[in-house]
């Protein structure tokens, strides 16, 4: 059992691309659910649109890469509008169902052969990332320092992405401390009360949906550049559920929760994966119980179980206060 290697992988993953992309996407989800109380179960759809907006603009339409970034964000914004208009007047759980459905429709569309000439079909889009990697100063293939192990390109995107995550976190924090944030939080608590005081609840919810959605789109752009590709099979509903797990782990409605939750999520996932594989390689697990190819499936089982247990026993996550949770009528 190579514990050192497992530790290195765990820490690298906790600070790595997956955690970073998740952190950004979960900031958006935190705006939606943590601060406004919107049940968005289609956040992965926003992420997809960010990535596809970028990829389509550069590879398919041949536009300028920076315009591509803008388009990614614009696609996400439009999606938010399309989702919000019909559903924000309805009960919360309807929004949950519609957001999943809309994300799935999106995924089926980009995956289809019918639209393949614009979306790349089931193989996706590539060839847009080089426009950004030309700025990469980390020219070594691999950087191995301390507990960290990153490839050159990855280190580049991390050195851009994490500061962006911090910047967006700061902006969201500022917003939520402002009167705008107060209205949004009031809507989360009780929409009718906010309306009775002259606040246009519908419009605020829409703004929140758009903000969180655009942040999700930004996550998608980072993801696309990091992987140098966008592929439809990544953007499945279970990814949104993973993001929810990270959000709840970190504590709903708290400033640092997206970052901490995402890092923890990926760290825990990696360490369990590593430990299980190690055990299996050592032969400590009976064959009938688990074989090597099944280790990855256990990862999903753990997320599902973890999410359920979190909601049952510690819904306030790590950062939330018990008191606040107790006051939650929902």
């Amino acid at each position: 059992m190579n514990w050192g290697s497992i530790l290195e992988q765990t820490i690298s993953q906790a600070f790595g691309v997956n955690a970073m992309v998740f952190a950004m996407a979960v900031i958006g989800l935190n705006v939606h659910f943590g601060y406004t109380g919107l049940l968005n179960f289609g956040q992965i759809g926003f992420v997809a649109l960010g990535g596809y907006g970028l990829g389509m603009s550069i590879t398919i339409f041949g536009w300028n890469p920076w315009l591509g970034i803008l388009m990614g964000l614009v696609y996400a914004l439009i999606f938010a509008l399309l989702l919000g208009v019909p559903t924000l007047r309805l009960r919360g759980d309807y929004l949950a169902i519609v957001t999943i459905a809309a994300s799935e429709v999106l995924r089926i569309l980009v995956r289809s052969t019918t639209l393949a000439e614009w979306t790349g079909g089931n193989t996706g889009i590539t060839g847009f990332a080089n426009a950004f990697y030309q700025f990469n100063p980390f020219t070594e293939r691999v950087y191995d320092f301390g507990p960290f192990f990153f490839t050159g390109p990855n280190l580049f995107i991390l050195s851009i992405g994490w500061p962006l995550v911090l910047l967006v976190t700061f902006l969201v924090w500022q917003l939520m401390r402002s009167p705008w944030g107060r209205v949004v939080k009031a809507i989360r608590e009780d929409e009718d009360a906010a309306r009775a005081l002259g606040k246009n609840a519908y419009w605020y919810k829409m703004q929140s949906l758009m903000l969180g959605g655009v942040i999700g789109g930004l996550a998608g752009i980072l993801l696309a550049i990091a992987n140098s590709t966008v592929q439809p099979d990544y953007f499945v509903p279970v990814q949104t559920f993973f993001m929810w797990t990270a959000l709840i782990l970190g504590g709903v409605g708290r400033v640092w929760s997206p970052i901490v939750g995402s890092m923890l999520f990926w760290g825990l996932l990696t360490v369990t994966d590593g430990v299980l594989r190690g055990f299996e390689a050592e032969g400590w697990v009976p064959r009938w119980l688990m074989n090597a190819s099944q280790v990855g499936q256990i990862r999903f089982m753990l997320v599902g179980l973890g999410l359920a247990l979190l909601m049952i026993y510690r819904p306030q996550g790590l950062f939330g206060s018990r008191e606040e949770m107790m006051l939650d009528a929902r």
Binding site: I97, A101, T113, P237, I312
Partner: protein, 442 residues
Amino acid sequence: MLLLAAAFALWLIPSVGMAQEGEQGVRARVLADDSATDEREPVEGVAVRFFDQGGAELGSEVTDAEGIAEIPLPSPGIYQVEIDPATIPEGLSLPNADEVRREANVQAGRFATVIFQLVVGEGDGGARGTDITLRRVLQLSVDGVKLGLFLGMAAIGLSLIFGTTGLVNFAHAELVTWGMLVAYFFNVLGLSSLFGFTAGWPWILNGPVDLISAALMAVLLGGLLGWAADAGVFARLRRRGTGLIAQMVITIGLSILIRYIYLYMFGGTGRFFRSYAGQQAIAIGPIAVTYKDMIAMTVALVALIGVGLTLQLTRAGRAMRAVSDDRDLAESSGIDVQRVIRWVWVAGAALAALGGVLLGQSDVIRWDVGSQILLLLFAGVILGGLGTAYGALVGSILVGLGIQLSTLFLASELRSIGALMLMIVILLIRPQGIMGRKERVG
């Protein structure tokens, strides 16, 4: 001499109807991967059309028991062969929509063979319908109603659970998968495969049993799982005062857990019940239905009529409707709401399990059926009205029809989109659904 003649005659007889020596032509062969036996099986009954290079149609044939359809051709050259995806049996499909039409280079005096390899499941493409004929509309409608009936059996439970508890159960589709997996276990593997010592014991305790007994076990264990879910988890959460949103997130977590346990135990390939793979279709008027599908639809109808009668006539059923309709009112008229909720979970899960068995023998048994149909279930329930039982059934049938009929206009890879868009549109214009109450909505 006689022997030679006899041999020649014997040799000739099978050749009757086949190409003569010295002719050329093109032969289409349709094969499918049979995951039960890991061999490539011929697929019968697929319509094949042949065209010359200019696109003129030269003839059409249907594949025989060997999976072969062929025509002789007057001269060598480039020809085209196209199969009709609408005639591909249920559960199989072309992996790539582009491969519907293939080219064949026919040499003089030889038959060029073009092989169409089908796969189990939905595949990537599927050609869009070529003609909108009455026959196709009727066929697709029957398929749609069939799908709708099976979905409806699960949707009823989902709708009633919402009506009685306010919970949107994201794990409901996994109850459907449970049904088909349990039935598979008893039908193909048998209890003795797990507990070796029960070999030789009576009925289900022994090895593999017939599908009906397996289905019975699926329903029983389905109901049991529903009971366990409420008694073990959700009733306790309700007593604690856990909010509905928290409960909903818990169902999401559980659905992921359960689904991957299914993958873990069952594996990733699709499978079939014993002796029910790729049955031949019978023609009833303009429509082709397989024998097994007819039985399945009948079972579904009988079950649904049973459910309807229970809801209308029995005390328990009326109580379920009362609680689902207006919980406080029901409680104040003396109904034990928690007990009714328990029944709803048990009955809803059992029904979903039966739906799973029917779906499994009509389509294919897979670990991830849940993720495929969950949104369709929601669409049906929302269409019909969250909280209503009959509405859920009506909505599901409409969803089934919508999905199948949409292939008249859309590529079959896009057909779920129709149902999902329909759901979103309904939320726009009539959010309470066809039979739901307005107060529930906004």
